[in-house]
């Protein structure tokens, strides 16, 4: 067997790593899309709300020794946190203009992150992945690690689950209708406030899952561990159209691969600039994002 060109080898490695990072980005971007659909607002507290369940998962895993128990508790706590924040905080904020909600969300970020730092300390805590992070060796080329593969599979299962939920079930139909046309949905018997709460629960549980998958690949767990993820995922969600789950998936993968390639060929510091450049170009060409709903017939 002939040796592979080192340049090609490097490209394959960067692409495959980018896909795995992109899957996490896509999941987080999807969580932003879900909450945007439910509440017609970008949730600026998404990163802080996602990292709280990860701390719970970390504690549960440390106490029980089971990664899976920790993962399940992150999903449950994420969903509960979403419900609590929507019902007992954001619902009390005036809804007629988005600014009060944004300010409350930013305040929530400060409270949650400071609270975590007080409770657990501000240091990075090393988090172990449930699978090896040493890349597979395929014909002399380093590709995905077992953990990357796990991340890709989890992301695919969650995406597939959401596709079925939204497009094939009665609850999914009600969620979409409530998001697009609240008053008409009420006139058809849909309990819209309950659908909004459910949207928040699904969104924060998904964001928590994405943060949980990300943490072992980074520096470790600290109250700001999901902040950069939020920024990149927000860019991906906007590139995808903010309203489109498919857009979040595609843009998340594209942003992940782009960031990985730029990090590999230029420097890690350049990657955020590349993402920003992509965002700018897409918004210049298609101001509503790549997968925004097409223009409506008005006549």
């Amino acid at each position: 067997m002939t040796e592979m060109d080192p340049a090609v080898e490097r490209l394959v490695f960067l692409m495959s790593t980018g896909l795995a990072r992109g899957a996490v980005l896509a999941l987080f971007a999807l969580s932003l899309v879900i909450v945007y659909r439910a509440a017609r607002a970008v949730n600026f507290a998404q990163a802080a709300m996602a990292i709280v369940p990860v701390y719970v998962a970390f504690a549960v895993t440390s106490a029980s020794g089971s990664y899976w128990l920790g993962l399940a508790s992150a999903l449950v706590v994420g969903a509960l946190l979403g419900a609590v924040v929507e019902r007992w905080l954001l619902r009390l904020v005036p809804q007629d203009n988005p600014l009060p909600g944004i300010i409350v969300a930013i305040g929530l970020v400060m409270v949650l992150q400071a609270g975590l730092a007080i409770a657990f300390g501000p240091d990075h805590r090393p988090v172990h992945a449930p699978f090896s992070q040493r890349p597979f060796d395929v014909g002399g080329v380093s590709v995905l690690s077992p953990y990357d593969l796990f991340v890709l599979i989890v992301a695919a299962v969650v995406m597939g689950g959401f596709a079925i939920l939204f497009n094939r079930t009665s609850i999914g139909l009600q969620l979409r209708a409530a998001a697009f046309a609240p008053e008409t949905s009420r006139l058809l018997g849909v309990r819209v406030p309950r659908m909004v709460t459910l949207g928040w629960m699904l969104s924060i549980a998904t964001a928590a899952l994405a943060a949980l998958l990300l943490v072992p690949t980074g520096l470790g767990l600290d109250p700001h561990a999901a902040d950069v993820l939020f920024v990149n995922a927000f860019a991906a969600a906007v590139i995808g159209g903010l309203d489109s789950p498919v857009g979040a998936l595609v843009a998340g993968l594209v942003v992940g691969v782009l960031a990985s390639l730029v990090t590999g060929y230029a420097s890690a510091a350049t990657a955020p600039l590349a993402v920003l450049a992509l965002l700018t170009v897409v918004l210049l060409v298609r101001p509503h994002g790549l997968f925004a709903a097409r223009e409506a017939r008005t006549a």
Binding site: S170, A177, R186, L187, L188, V190
Partner: protein, 243 residues
């Protein structure tokens, strides 16, 4: 039996004078009542108040003797009240089929194997409205005005309500489409005993399908007579309907 009774209903916006003041009206089981009146008479406000979209200051709304006044809009709908609001309330992001499925959600609720029964109910609507059958997978925003109003009506009918409230279904539509829609409405009322309250500016069209006409003026009922009699009374028409 599905009688809609409105008792001393008073509705207003903000601190202003009430739009409806102590309104009394009964829509009997199986009746088709035309609700007529100029702009500002309170027709839309009445229909929205019946569904709880506008809060009532006082008075009661009864469906078959059961008080709906304290119920939310969603619960009133699940009890058998349906409103087709003004302006083609199709959910434009959803397809024709999805809009109809949404309308059928509470039909057969709590029964086993309700899925196929709902699909059959949706199928009946496609027979009733042929243009919708051809466009069942098209998104709502691609439909024409007439098709949207057909879909809004079909979506209300597929839920098999006891009482159907319609707000200006003829608005902005060609006479032929209006005649078709009102024809379907009359046929359904005759075939199923559906109770209908139809608010319209199109007096002639509304009275041609209704068996009773009620004229609202400044939030009060000023005439309540058989439709044929109302259509033939030039003095009344002139005073309140302007032609």
């Amino acid at each position: 039996m599905s009688t809609l009774t409105i008792e001393k209903l008073t509705v207003g916006y903000g601190d202003g004078a009430p739009v409806l003041d102590g309104l009394e009206l009964e829509v009997p089981d199986g009746g088709v009542v035309a609700l007529l009146g100029a702009n500002g008479a309170g027709k839309t406000t009445l229909l929205r108040a019946l569904l709880g979209l506008v809060p009532a200051r006082s008075g009661r709304v009864l469906l078959n003797g059961a008080d709906l006044t304290r119920l939310s809009t969603e619960d009133r709908v699940r009890r058998g009240l349906a409103l087709v609001p003004e302006g083609r309330s199709v959910v434009v992001e959803l397809t024709v089929a999805e809009n109809l499925r949404l309308g059928a959600l509470w039909r057969y609720a709590g029964r086993k194997h309700s899925g196929p029964a709902r699909e059959a109910a949706v199928g009946q609507m496609y027979e009733l409205f042929e243009p919708l059958a051809r466009r069942r997978d098209a998104a709502g925003h691609t439909l024409s005005g007439g098709e949207r109003q057909m879909l809004a009506l079909a979506r209300a009918l597929v839920g098999e309500p006891d009482v159907l409230l319609l707000d200006e279904p003829s608005l902005g539509l060609a006479p032929l489409v209006v005649a078709q829609l009102l024809g379907v409405l009359r046929d359904q009322a005759e075939a199923t005993g559906l109770t209908v309250l139809l608010a319209e500016q199109n007096v002639t069209g509304a009275l041609s399908v209704a068996d009773r006409g009620v004229v609202l003026s400044l939030g009060e009922v000023v005439a309540d007579r058989p439709a044929a009699e109302l259509a033939a009374d030039p003095a009344l028409r002139h005073a309140y309907l302007g032609f």
